[in-house]
Amino acid sequence: MASAAEQMSEWEDLVGQIREVLAPRKPASSFRHRLRWELLQMAQGHPDRDVSLAESSAPRELIIGAAIGSVVALAGGIVYLLRTREHSRARSMADVCIEQVTTQVG
């Protein structure tokens, strides 16, 4: 059976350990400044800041990647469309020429 002094010492040890593992942590100053700036933007009536904060848990790289992907896909679509048009125009021009040549030969 532990004496009262020993028991007290055990409790003090436990409390000391709790203090140690829960030592205060400070936020990174970059985060602190960024959040302050975003809150000020909100205060000045820029509603888009609200959305940005609410979505801050989504990985930024993912959002940027998705945006780049969309732009590339759109550009690809436009190029395809232009080429298809050019191609069909070229084909119809060729058809006209062939027809003319055929008529002249005939």
Binding site: Q17, I18, L22, K26, P27, R36, A43, D50, A54, S57
Partner: protein, 183 residues
């Protein structure tokens, strides 16, 4: 700062949104620390701290001073944000031990023995498995350095109830640590 003085600041922020930055400066470190101790990793702590302040900003007009510090209101928002985080993502079941121990980064001393490190690891794990209100009590007391009276105000309980909860929490912690040692 006295709660009455702080309430004047809050009133100013309710009239002029830009004054909210002053309240932010006063409380951001402690809210971040609270959330960090609950989640155990920087990324989620930053996300939940941001959510806490955005929500506080959006609902500032609802705040009414009733003699309780403004920080108590912020802690309540942060506490709910953490509860939602656990509930929605169910991270309390899948959170890795490495994530739990992230807080040791940069704090490990070379002279610290493996045994001491293991003890710290076990203690953090046991603390994070306590009921949310018990974790909150330990963080407010030992990480934020609040008195029992301040903790009582923050948690909306009587001082006697806080003392009793503290006593039960320490007993539960010791019991769990002894059970782990015995295994």
């Amino acid at each position: 700062m006295e709660p009455e003085q702080e309430s004047l600041l809050v009133k100013r922020a309710q009239e002029d949104a830009l004054a909210f930055a002053l309240l932010y400066d006063m409380h951001v470190d402690r809210i971040y620390n609270y959330v960090y101790q609950r989640t155990g990793n920087r990324r989620d702590a930053e996300d939940l701290t941001a959510r806490t302040f955005v929500k506080a900003f959006a609902h500032l007009s609802d705040y009414v001073f009733r003699g309780v510090p403004f920080s108590a209101w912020l802690y309540r928002i942060a506490h709910n944000a953490v509860a939602n985080w656990y509930r929605d993502r169910r991270r309390h079941k899948v959170i890795s031990l490495d994530a739990l121990m992230e807080q040791d980064d940069g704090q490990q001393r070379p002279e610290e023995t493996t045994r001491v490190r293991e003890e710290r690891r076990a203690l953090i794990k046991v603390i994070r498995q306590l009921a949310p209100e018990r974790q909150q009590l330990l963080i407010l007391k030992y990480s934020e350095g609040l008195t029992n009276a301040e903790i009582a105000e923050t948690m909306g309980r009587s001082e006697g109830a806080i003392k009793s909860l503290y006593h039960r929490t320490l007993l539960a912690l010791r019991r769990e640590l002894q059970a782990r040692e015995a295994d």
